[in-house]
């Protein structure tokens, strides 16, 4: 599908994409976490851009982060120190895990992109006081952005931004639905490109493109797929090959619980209440990252529900090495699946090294097993 080409081009060279945005006098704010309030960044006139590691060799970051820090955090810092992120006009750090918490300090002390903000979101999300605090934090962030741009973000700006992001979310959700209904409708590698591209491309252009893709996919009528229905669960999955490797082994990804997937875009922002409270409602109610708390078993229950909804044959935990919050959740989530007789596979991924041979063997074995 040629409509997906722009997404492949975007993710292949984010720096070139950023250069294009800057040419149109756009200013770019980067962030690494799905709790970054993109709607506010966009409403302030900035281009929100999720940062991924370019997976280059780590050398400069060695002077700041030990080897037992995850490859995402080290990789993005390396990119910054090596000048590969010079297109940024600012960065935002929502509080996530211990590693990103410290990266924020290291970043503030060693880089200078102009705008900088710590958006210290609450770690627990299921209490009234935590929600009130989240709204306070969003309000403060809005004020910080307004100071940076020198004028207020109008209610109309914010409303327009919220509507735009809802449009994007709605269409991404629709694409996922279509994929689950009929897995042959779109290749995993294309789905990956769409979702990753959606985190970095110009949002207005993106919303348009997603609508086009939805219309085209809705017209498609691929033959029924006999591939094993797989759910990917984990932190970020920035490994494009995994989708193809799963397909080659006889599976297909029908849903995910990834922070570079469903967790990032699921849930619309209510439009009939105060916009900051609406943002709070969405960010507090969306499928949570394990670094947050909203009950002791919510993630396990959610994964089980996801597996049932999508009639999954198996779940693949794609976990980033040294990602503590996910590593803590893995045993109990696996146990939840075991009790429901849903088979799972645990893969430990690292941006720096990707031994594909071993990976494809493990995937093949898993597909045979389920």
């Amino acid at each position: 599908m040629k409509e997906i080409d722009p997404f492949h081009i975007a993710i292949k060279d984010p720096a070139a994409l950023a250069a294009g945005i800057r040419e149109k006098s756009g200013k770019i704010i980067g962030y690494m976490c799905s709790y970054a309030p993109e709607e506010l960044i966009h409403a302030a006139g900035f281009h929100p851009m999720r940062l991924f590691s370019s997976k280059s060799e780590i050398s400069l970051a060695e002077n700041h982060l030990q080897a037992y820090c995850c490859s995402l955090v080290r990789g993005v810092l390396e990119d910054s120190l090596a000048g590969r992120l010079d297109y940024l006009d600012g960065t935002v750090f929502p509080h996530t895990c211990d590693s990103i918490q410290r990266l924020s300090d290291i970043w503030r002390l060693n880089t200078n992109y102009g705008f900088f903000a710590d958006v210290v979101m609450p770690a627990k999300l299921n209490t009234a006081s935590a929600r009130a605090y989240m709204t306070d934090v969003l309000k403060k962030f809005k004020t910080d952005l307004e100071k940076a741009i020198g004028h207020p973000i109008t209610p109309a700006d914010l409303e327009a931004s919220i509507c735009l992001f809802n449009r994007i979310r709605k269409n991404l959700t629709r694409i996922y639905e279509l994929k689950s209904q009929s897995p042959g409708i779109i290749k995993g590698i294309d789905l990956f490109a769409i979702v990753k591209g959606a985190m970095i491309m110009d949002r207005k252009e993106l919303a348009q493109r997603l609508e086009t893709i939805v219309l085209l996919l809705e017209k498609k009528d691929p033959p029924p797929s006999s591939a094993k229905r797989i759910i990917l669960s984990g932190s970020i999955c920035d490994m494009v090959d995994i989708y193809s490797l799963i397909e080659v082994s006889g599976g297909t990804v029908v849903a995910d619980d990834l922070c570079t997937g469903n967790r990032w875009f699921e849930g619309l922002i209510p439009v009939d209440i105060d916009p900051l409270e609406a943002l709070t409602a969405r960010y507090a109610d969306r499928a949570i990252c394990p670094a947050k708390h909203s009950g002791n078993t919510v993630r396990g229950e959610a994964l089980l529900a996801l597996a049932k909804t999508h009639r999954a044959d198996g779940v693949i935990f794609a976990l980033l090495k040294f990602c503590d919050p996910h590593a803590f959740d893995y045993p109990y989530m696996k146990e939840f699946l075991d009790k429901a007789a849903i088979k799972s596979l645990h893969l430990e991924l690292d941006d720096q090294q990707q031994g594909q041979g071993q990976l494809s063997t493990r995937l093949e074995t898993f597909m045979h097993m389920i």
């Binding site: 211990d98 590693s99 770690a123 935590a130 605090y133 670094a291 503590d324 919050p325 803590f328 430990e348």
Partner: protein, 419 residues
């Protein structure tokens, strides 16, 4: 030297060691034994047990006569008794990655197999988790809340990257009230506010005494070392807010004063003074202490044990519950790396140290990430040598003794040349 002379030297050495011994250590062991025995028999005495994180607000528990149990203190005991590897391996067999915190790993498996030096901890009636020290405790306490199926309270203290904001203040203060309601619900009893005030006084008094004790090491030669502080820390962590802790620390403070007056130093020939960063390497305390002592170097202070008196400035004993919010939020680990570096620099000057030893601790990301930046700041601003030791607080598989040995020798060589 003939055998008799050898014997004499050994005897003298033993005598010298005996004289340098801190007498209060015996009492401290007794207090801790009593504390654990009481905890083990809590149920028979109709007392409730709360497991709480080391940076958690223990005072309301004390005021409500709930016995606080510290899995972190227990994990340190596991480490010191060299039982960490076995329990960590058990946790890995349960599916927990070997990259996870070794305190968490050893506690999680210990809860299920009742292993460790005291046969496991008494079962909790509730869990209290304050994330001011890390995000790890949040996940760890979720694991235990599922396992024991008991209520969990989370005191969420947002990180103060850049000072304490009004938003954070309001949020944490509200949670203090929620915490009291939680405790009242679990115990079915009301908090006695007079008792709370009293406990608040004692907690502050205990922290001030702890600070006083730690500061006696500004004296040259130092009457105690960080290795002793690691040991004596247990009371300010577990029994903060009690008369027992205050009484004990009064005695310890007095003993330290006496040692200072009499010139009794903890190591025989203190020539070099060092500052330690991060948690102890629990299973190598003896070796490390001897190693530095052999170089006539004393670890006079550390950033870890001082964390239990680092927020005194924020406590208002007449409004204890109100000020508790700030005191628990602005602790050493819950601030920005630059503010941590400032505190390190203050300590370097206060204790007049010749070198800085940083434990790069695989188990503790919020403590260890940022160390390299702090190291650079320290080097630039003070010029003192800095050593980074790669290790882990409980899991010995992440420590190489021979490598540490060589590196400490090289580090001390530089310090000697500079002095």
């Amino acid at each position: 030297m003939d055998t008799n002379q050898n014997k004499d030297t050994a005897k003298e050495k033993e005598k010298d060691k005996d004289q340098r011994k801190i007498k209060s250590a015996k009492k401290m062991r007794e207090i801790m034994t009593t504390y654990y025995l009481e905890a083990m028999t809590a149920r028979e005495n109709n007392k409730k047990i709360a497991w709480i994180t080391s940076g958690g607000p223990v005072e309301p528990l004390i005021a409500m006569d709930i016995i606080p149990i510290y899995p972190e203190n227990h994990a340190a005991m596991i480490g010191a008794s060299k039982m960490g590897e076995d329990l960590c391996v058990k946790a890995e067999e349960m599916g927990y990655s070997s990259d996870l915190c070794s305190y968490a790993r050893s506690d999680i498996s210990c809860a299920q197999v009742n292993g460790g030096p005291i046969g496991g901890l008494p079962r909790p009636d509730m869990l209290v988790c304050c994330n001011n020290i890390c995000g790890t405790v949040l996940k760890w306490y979720e694991v235990q809340a599922r396992y024991f199926n008991v209520p969990l309270f989370i005191l969420d203290t947002p990180v103060c990257h850049n000072g304490y904001s009004p938003e954070i203040a309001a949020y944490v203060r509200r949670q203090i009230d929620e915490y009291i309601v939680f405790l009242e619900t679990v115990t079915g009893e009301k908090l006695d506010h007079d008792k709370m005030t009293e406990v608040g006084h004692l907690a502050l008094q205990g922290q001030k005494l702890w600070q006083k004790i730690l500061k006696t090491t500004t004296h040259k030669p130092s009457p105690m070392s960080a290795f002793d502080a690691f040991f004596f820390l247990a009371l300010i962590v577990t029994l903060r807010g009690t008369k027992i802790a205050v009484n004990f620390y009064e005695e310890l403070a007095q003993e330290m004063e006496e040692r200072v007056q009499k010139g009794i130093s903890i190591i025989p020939h203190e020539r070099y003074r060092l500052l330690w960063d991060n948690l102890p390497v629990w299973y190598q305390l003896k070796w490390l202490s001897q190693k530095f002592s052999d170089h006539n170097a004393c670890l006079v202070a550390d950033t870890y044990t001082s964390a239990w008196c680092s927020a005194i400035q924020y406590i208002d004993e007449n409004k204890f519950l109100d000020s508790m919010a700030e005191a628990y939020t602005r602790i050493y680990l819950n601030i920005g790396v630059d503010e941590m570096a400032d505190q390190v620099l203050d300590m370097i000057h206060l204790y007049d140290v010749d070198g800085f030893v940083m434990h790069s601790n695989r188990s503790c990301k919020p403590y260890s990430f940022g160390q390299l930046d702090i190291m650079e700041i320290v080097r630039k601003k003070t010029g003192i040598p800095v050593l980074m030791l790669e290790a882990d607080m409980v899991d010995p598989r992440n420590f190489s003794l021979s490598q540490a040995d060589t590196r400490i020798d090289a580090f001390m060589e530089i310090i000697k040349q500079k002095k």
